[in-house]
Subunit: 181 residues, 2 copies
DNA sequence: CTGAAGTTTCAGTATTTTCTGAAAGTTTAA
DNA sequence: TTAAACTTTCAGAAAATACTGAAACTTCAG
């Protein structure tokens, strides 16, 4: 048996949350299992642990690979492929964010930009464009700052957090600094 | 006709993205329509604009209300209810974040905490707990910093962004400051 | 009260998404 | 070159999700 009750509860929870994070239940479970399991696992082991078909595992791995979330290993004298999560927890979170941005935010930004190029044809379109402009700017701001956070090490963030430094404080400081300089 | 071609493209896009942001296609379309439309709309108008049943609109409004994203209006001499988006774009984004955190992150944090209370029963569970701990800390850090960003006005963020201020630079600065002081 | 004008609910249906398992494809040792 | 050991693909089945429309419910003016 690959999972104790506690581990199973975590894996199933990843399944339920999985769809929220951009993949489906099974892919979520697979990912949870790989994270929680010290050794890399073969497709067959995954299929047995989660009670899903071998084909489904293959598709799930492919999906996780498209998110750059798994690594493949080979053992000597063994033809099977073994899978494990790629990178640290922080790196994985970063990748999920990035991929989601590509899939969710980028197309929206591009649609908004296209729409904003045209002249509004009437009152109604003028209002619509104003709103689209607001959304566009907001999305740009959010992706910018998200990128900033991602570029920092989690250790650094944690340390600062524990020092009680809120972003706002830090930024106030910067504000003063800029005005002074 | 309620929508020009350009407006329709935006509304349909919201439908496609909708499911990514936590609701379904129709609810996404409804929300897009309300945002882009200057006047508040009645359920019947929404139903006609989007070609969906009256019942579906009712369910969609209920869903949007559970996210605190719509406002109801009444017009004198008119029994119908009219709907419009609640608050500014920034406030709406903030609400979506908050609600998603409640639905996605909070349950995970609580599961992780529960699991971390128990003593690991073996080597395998020890490893699992270490990973869960990492995830737990990461989620806490992320929610903390997300909250910080949300608490700031978008204007301020934009201004700073345009000044070319990266968080990391700011934080380095603060770091030195702390060491000096 | 009554009934007109509206909203909500929900059983059944339609649509979309996911999963299975068998067939096709790939790789490698001999 | 063969065949065993493995992986991938994909058509069809199953499951999950969303939608419709008619009935039930609510509200309010007269």
């Amino acid at each position: 048996m690959l999972m104790t009750a506690k581990i199973e509860s975590f894996v199933m929870h990843c399944g339920e949350m999985g769809s929220r994070w951009g993949f489906n239940r099974t892919v979520g479970q697979m990912y949870g299992l790989l994270i929680i399991h010290e050794q890399a696992l073969s497709a067959m082991q995954i299929s047995e642990a989660l009670n899903i078909s071998r084909g489904n595992v293959s598709m799930g791995i492919k999906e996780l690979q498209s998110w750059r979330l798994v690594q493949v290993h080979h053992k000597p004298k063994d033809r099977k492929e073994y899978y494990s999560p790629a990178g640290t927890i922080w790196e994985m979170a970063t990748r999920v964010f990035e991929e989601r941005r590509k899939r969710e935010v980028d197309p929206t930004l591009s649609l908004l930009r296209d729409n904003l190029l045209d002249e509004p044809a009437n009152e109604q379109e003028l209002f619509a464009q104003e709103k689209m402009h607001e959304i566009h700017d907001l999305l740009e701001t959010i992706t910018h700052w998200a990128g900033e956070l991602q570029s920092m090490s989690p250790d650094k963030l944690n340390t600062l957090m524990k020092l009680g430094a809120g972003v706002s404080k830090v930024i106030d400081m910067k504000d003063k600094f800029i005005k002074k300089g």
